[in-house]
């Protein structure tokens, strides 16, 4: 009888999911459900897969431009080559479904880490769960099939491990250079890791927390991570590229994801709510905040308010700190009946969770979804399947181009560059694509000059010998070409128009 009970209990411990696991599965399911949206909001996925395929086929990482005719052969920093490779491999294995699955795994993993570190700092799983949900809502705007998802994951992992170092839970610092080695080859925002390290290092100096041992460890983390960051195909060039782009006000202000959050849009309200919660929590906390935490909260609040693309990094670095402070405040309010009841309930949950193993359902969800997606199931919310949308990308127009290939160079709509590469490279290269940091201010200004018909736009066409143009329907450029006697319309549907030089 006792044996049966033991077995039953062990089975229940395996089969009943923990709160963190429920969060992981829910977010994973949400990301898979939003697959087509994630792929179609951003135009760069095509380029990432194309570059990844090229790396697989040629076994080399290109360090000069191979995708455009405007910058062909110019030196290029492949700061996302490893992400591109992973996207291409998942695409080869399961098509675009594989890319979405990989994205789901990375995003759900990142937010699970947020939950986990919040729990470590607060010991209140319900509040940590709330933090995870808010984090998911705030960061969902940037759930995209782009290499930056790896930065979200690594920033979460990096912050959590630094916190363990600060608390003395982790002794060895060797994990940090290893993480940095992966990060620097996955995405150009690896610099965020060193910024987070700087928050901890400076914060601990201000807190006078650095003992000789900790001091040495933290210095070694910084030095080793910086040195390791040079182990990439472009060496120190990767630093120059990152800062060069961020230092260019024109390019930054012309890149949508670098713009500040627009709080008139409901999509940004969860982030606004998080900021208000931070004012509330920091205002009510009776405990002076540790300087590393203060620098994290202050620094990432500023960064996220400056550029919306930093919101996911705000989520993974700041939420555990806020949750920790919020739980401290709740403990101060024990006298309140409601708070006391909540704390009792939380204790019961914690006791139950201690006996659970966890992990079973996460593995089931991840493996089953992959199997279903590979089997052709449509798991997205709208049951459309993971494909490039005809309403967003020139899918039909590209088919026409395949059947009626025009001669010479084509001028393309900037957000379609990646898709056109996906469809036509290496047969055709593009005028421009989403890689703004590479194309630079001069070419971006030329592109802008053409699409706004600013003075001298025809000169740009002459300089680059443009013989065909692909633009969205009813564009300003399209109306100018329509008037012109030397251009004729080759193709038009509800998404795109193709113009051919006819002289």
């Amino acid at each position: 009888m006792n044996n049966t009970n033991d077995i039953l209990q062990k089975l229940l411990a395996v089969f009943i999911p923990r709160l963190g696991e429920i969060l992981f599965i829910a977010i994973f399911a949400a990301v898979i459900g939003l697959g087509p949206r994630m792929m179609n909001i951003d135009g760069d996925l095509g380029r990432h897969i194309t570059l990844g395929n090229h790396i697989i086929d040629s076994r080399e990482i290109p360090t000069e431009d191979i995708f455009s005719f405007t910058k062909a052969g110019d030196p290029l920093t492949p700061h996302e080559w490893l992400s591109d490779l992973l996207f291409a491999l998942s695409n080869k294995a399961a098509g675009l479904n594989g890319v979405v699955w990989l994205t789901g795994l990375v995003i759900a993993g990142s937010l699970w880490l947020v939950y986990k570190y919040s729990l470590n700092l607060s010991n209140m799983s319900l509040i940590a769960l709330l933090g995870g949900i808010l984090g998911a809502a705030a960061s969902s705007l940037h759930w995209l099939t782009r290499p930056h998802i790896f930065t979200i994951l690594l920033a979460a992992l990096w912050t959590g491990e630094l916190e363990k170092m600060r608390l003395g839970i982790r002794k060895s610092w060797l994990i940090f250079p290893l993480l940095m080695l992966v990060w620097v080859n996955l995405h150009g925002a690896f610099i965020a890791g060193l910024l987070i390290w700087a928050c901890y290092f400076v914060g601990m100096l201000l807190d006078q927390q650095l003992s000789l041992n900790k001091n040495q460890s933290f210095i070694w983390i910084g030095i080793s991570s910086f040195i390791v960051s040079l182990l990439n195909p472009d060496g120190f060039g990767i630093w120059k590229t990152g800062f060069g782009f961020l230092g260019n006000q024109y390019l930054v202000s012309h890149t949508a994801e670098y713009l500040p959050p627009d709080f008139q849009q409901p999509a940004f309200w969860p982030f606004l709510l998080l900021i208000m919660i931070s004012v509330f929590v920091l205002g009510l906390s009776k405990k002076r905040m540790a300087f590393p935490h203060l620098l994290l909260v202050g620094g990432w609040t500023i960064m996220a308010l400056y550029s919306a693309r930093n919101i996911p990094l705000y989520v993974v670095t700041v939420i555990p700190v806020l949750i920790s402070s919020a739980c401290g405040i709740l403990c101060d309010w024990k006298e309140s009946v409601l708070v006391d009841k909540f704390l009792d309930f939380q204790k019961k949950i914690a006791t139950t969770e201690e006996n659970l193993k966890g992990g079973f359902w996460s593995i089931v969800a991840v493996v089953l979804s992959l199997a279903l997606l590979m089997g052709g199931a449509k798991l997205d919310f709208q049951r459309k399947g993971n494909q490039f949308s005809e309403e967003v990308f020139p899918v039909e127009a590209s088919a026409w181009l395949e059947d009626n290939p025009p001669e010479g160079n084509g001028f393309n709509y900037f957000p379609w560059g990646g898709y056109l590469l996906y469809r036509f490279w290496p047969e055709r290269s593009v005028f421009i694509d989403g890689q703004t940091d590479f194309y630079g201010e001069e070419l971006t200004r030329e592109y802008e000059k053409v699409i706004t018909l600013a003075d001298g736009w025809q000169d740009v066409f002459n300089d680059y010998r443009i013989s065909w143009v692909i633009m969205p329907v009813d564009s300003v450029l399209g109306s100018a070409l329509e008037e012109s006697s030397i251009w004729e319309e080759g193709y038009k549907d509800e998404t795109a128009e193709i113009w051919l030089y006819s002289e």
Partner: protein, 499 residues
């Protein structure tokens, strides 16, 4: 004895510096229609409330919630032209900051620095418009509530009632005052229920009376020419969906713009100072801070109220932090105490006559700076040059000398300027969003962007001329449809229908 006490000297210096910041060339897109409305009110002896400035809303009733501000503005402009308006904005800004200063804690020097910081944040919304009065009244209300909380004397709450009567006639922004009072009550309730650690705060009776005065304030707003309609104004304005697209001050802040960044730094500063403190923030300070931080991040026109609410908290916690650090430094580092003592001593050693001389020199220099700024920014050539950069000065001059008649489609931001300068020509649209609503504003956008059906709008409104910005994207569809360019400069383009 020095003539001016140290405390007052710092304040005077800060206020003079604020005046220097606030005095600007009074050119603002909405300023002109406010002036014209003020003029009409004075000329007719009754509040201007039926539209005659536009042909799209001609004859429509308009809740002119800023009628008294418009009268003040017009009289100021009549008496002192640009100089008058410029000084008027500067004085309102100084007054609003003075009430903030009176709510601050800490050393006068520190308070003055924080005040200047708040002024820089707030300065984004200092312009010759009725909302400058809202800032003054918001700040005054904050001061009255601060005094009520400090002294528990109801006289201060009674003082809030005339403030709201005036507010209800000066500007629709009275709702900010209602929100401030409401959030303070929520904060006080929060103190009572959960924090339980601010013994000097309001008791239940005092909170109830505060609530009654909040209700009273809401009621006395009705003492205005439009009565109950005044309550609708905040909803009418915020309810216009196209507002955020058309008016930049209603948009969420863009922190890539350097002039908007001080708000970000103030928010960061308050967050940091609160987190470095060992005490909870008083709920009646925290709730308004949360509400007005939210408001400022949603629309940058709320930077002013945010700064007014945040500055006293900022100075309070900064002062506490500095005191804490200094006392620890004195214990741990012996020479810190010596330096502080020496500086006090050398200050005492200075002869009063010498101190007076230095003070007079500083104040004279700043007063000279204020005078120079007033003269410089209102210089005729300077104003004209600035006006040319914002408004279609030459196009209007050309129109005045031409025989073009009939209705004209105009740029939204130029509506007020045209109302003031082309008095016989009503406009398509101007800055009175509450009058035009989404219907007209959407039609305006439709025409400007050449969206489906734009020709019908022009035809229906019998438009014979178009005055818009000289930007290729905006005028191409007009030219394609046969409109003829009759005037063009760097800023504007004037098109007429091809006969």
């Amino acid at each position: 004895m020095p003539w001016i006490k140290e405390e007052k000297l710092y304040l005077i210096i800060a206020l003079l510096l604020i005046l220097i910041i606030a005095v600007r060339t009074p050119l603002e897109t909405d300023m002109w229609w406010h002036l014209r409305a003020g003029e009409e009110t004075l000329r007719n002896g009754e509040v201007y409330s039926v539209d005659t400035f536009s042909f799209t809303r001609e004859g429509a009733e308009w809740i002119n919630h800023s009628w008294l501000s418009q009268v003040v503005m017009f009289l100021t402009f009549q008496a002192g032209s640009y100089y008058g308006l410029s000084i008027w904005v500067g004085l309102c800004a100084v007054l609003s900051m003075l009430f903030v200063y009176l709510q601050m804690k800490g050393h006068p020097l520190l308070r003055s620095f924080v005040l200047l910081f708040a002024a820089v944040v707030s300065s984004v919304v200092w312009s010759p418009r009725p909302q400058i009065h809202s800032l003054v009244l918001f700040s005054l209300l904050g001061y009255l509530i601060f005094q009520y909380k400090r002294t528990k004397k109801y006289g201060y709450l009674i003082g809030a009632l005339p403030v709201f009567i005036l507010w209800g006639n000066l500007h629709g922004g009275y709702v900010l005052g209602i929100i401030l009072m409401g959030s303070i009550i929520v904060g006080e309730l929060f103190n009572k229920v959960l924090l339980k650690e601010f013994p000097d705060n309001l008791n239940w009776r005092q909170i109830s009376i505060f609530g009654i005065f909040l209700l009273g304030s809401f009621l006395v707003v009705l003492i205005n020419p439009f009565g109950l309609d005044m309550w609708r104004i905040p909803f009418n304005t915020v309810g216009v969906e196209t507002l955020q697209n058309v008016i930049s001050e209603w948009a969420s802040p863009d922190f890539h713009q350097a002039f908007q960044q001080p708000m970000l730094w103030m928010l960061l500063g308050v967050l940091s100072l609160m987190s470095l403190s060992n005490k909870s923030v008083d709920g009646s300070e925290l709730m308004p801070l949360i509400v007005f931080s939210w408001a400022a991040l949603t629309a940058r026109r709320n930077f002013g109220p945010f700064a007014i609410v945040a500055a006293p908290i900022f100075s309070k916690y900064l002062a506490a932090l500095i005191d804490d650090w200094l006392s620890r430094a004195k214990q741990q580092i012996p020479w810190v105490d010596r330096i502080l003592e020496n500086s006090k001593k050398s200050n005492k050693d200075l002869k009063p006559g010498f101190k007076n001389l230095i003070n007079i020199v500083i104040i004279s220099l700043l007063v000279t700076g204020v005078c120079w700024k007033i003269i410089d920014v209102n210089n005729k050539e300077f104003v004209l040059e600035a006006e040319r950069g914002i408004f279609p000065v030459d196009a209007v001059a050309w129109l005045e000398s031409s025989d073009i008649t009939g209705n004209m489609f105009n740029d939204y931001n130029w509506g007020g300027y045209l109302i003031w300068h082309l008095r016989d020509n009503p406009v398509f649209v101007d800055g009175r969003t509450d009058l035009f609503g989404d219907e007209i504003l959407n039609e305006w956008k439709q025409v400007l962007q050449g969206a489906n059906g734009w020709q019908e709008v022009l035809h229906r409104e019998n438009i014979s001329a178009i005055l818009i910005r000289n930007e290729n994207q905006n005028n191409r569809h007009f030219l394609e449809e046969g409109w003829v360019k009759v005037f063009e400069d760097d800023l504007s383009i004037l098109l007429i229908a091809d006969k």
